[in-house]
């Protein structure tokens, strides 16, 4: 039993090294995309976001939204689900646990 544990402990540095060399390129790809796609909006972009939002509301009022194709509606639905999921991730962070409230 003790020998098996010793052998395992001796293998840990190699395993760590293998994990690092496996994840480095994947981490690089992740950063390559995240630095452009996942960054928070700069203060200069916020008025553009509000303009886009009012555009959306105007489109809804004029009935232009009824003209969207099913494909576009599906894509917009996916984007809306993505935004909703960020809310749930924020809730997980705020309540300090993944499943349920740890009271």
């Amino acid at each position: 039993m003790a020998q098996a544990v010793q052998k395992l402990v001796a293998k840990v540095p190699t395993m760590v090294g293998a994990a690092v060399s496996y994840s480095k390129p994947r981490l690089a790809t992740f950063w390559y995309y995240a630095r452009v796609e996942l960054v928070p909006p700069t203060p200069a972009e916020i008025p553009k976001a509000m303009a886009g939002f009012s555009n959306l509301i105007k489109g809804f009022q004029t009935g232009r939204l009824g003209q969207t194709t099913v494909r576009d509606a599906f894509r917009n639905g996916l984007v809306a689900t993505d935004v909703l999921m960020w809310f749930y991730i924020g809730e997980i962070i705020g309540k300090g646990g993944i499943v349920g409230y740890d009271v």
Partner: protein, 78 residues
């Protein structure tokens, strides 16, 4: 590799503000639920003590009864 997509500012603001709102909501709901759970635990403790006390008394009475009835049976038999 495919070049990264330029995400529209509306979607970016919506995502990050949803994250912020989610964090605030989670923290506030946790702070609201915590004292309620503590109160429920206290009440449950008190009720459990009461129930265990009653069960103890009931068991003592039951043992006393069976002891008495065995004695009565023996005396009758004798």
């Amino acid at each position: 590799m495919v070049p990264p997509v330029q995400v529209s500012p509306l979607i970016k603001t919506a995502r990050w503000s949803a994250l912020l709102v989610g964090i605030i909501y989670g923290k506030q709901r946790y702070d609201y639920l915590k004292p309620i759970a503590a109160e429920e635990r206290r009440v449950e403790e008190a009720e459990k003590k009461l129930r265990e006390e009653q069960e103890r008394i009931y068991k003592q009475l039951a043992e006393g009864n069976s002891f008495n009835s065995i004695q009565c049976n023996l005396i009758l038999f004798l």
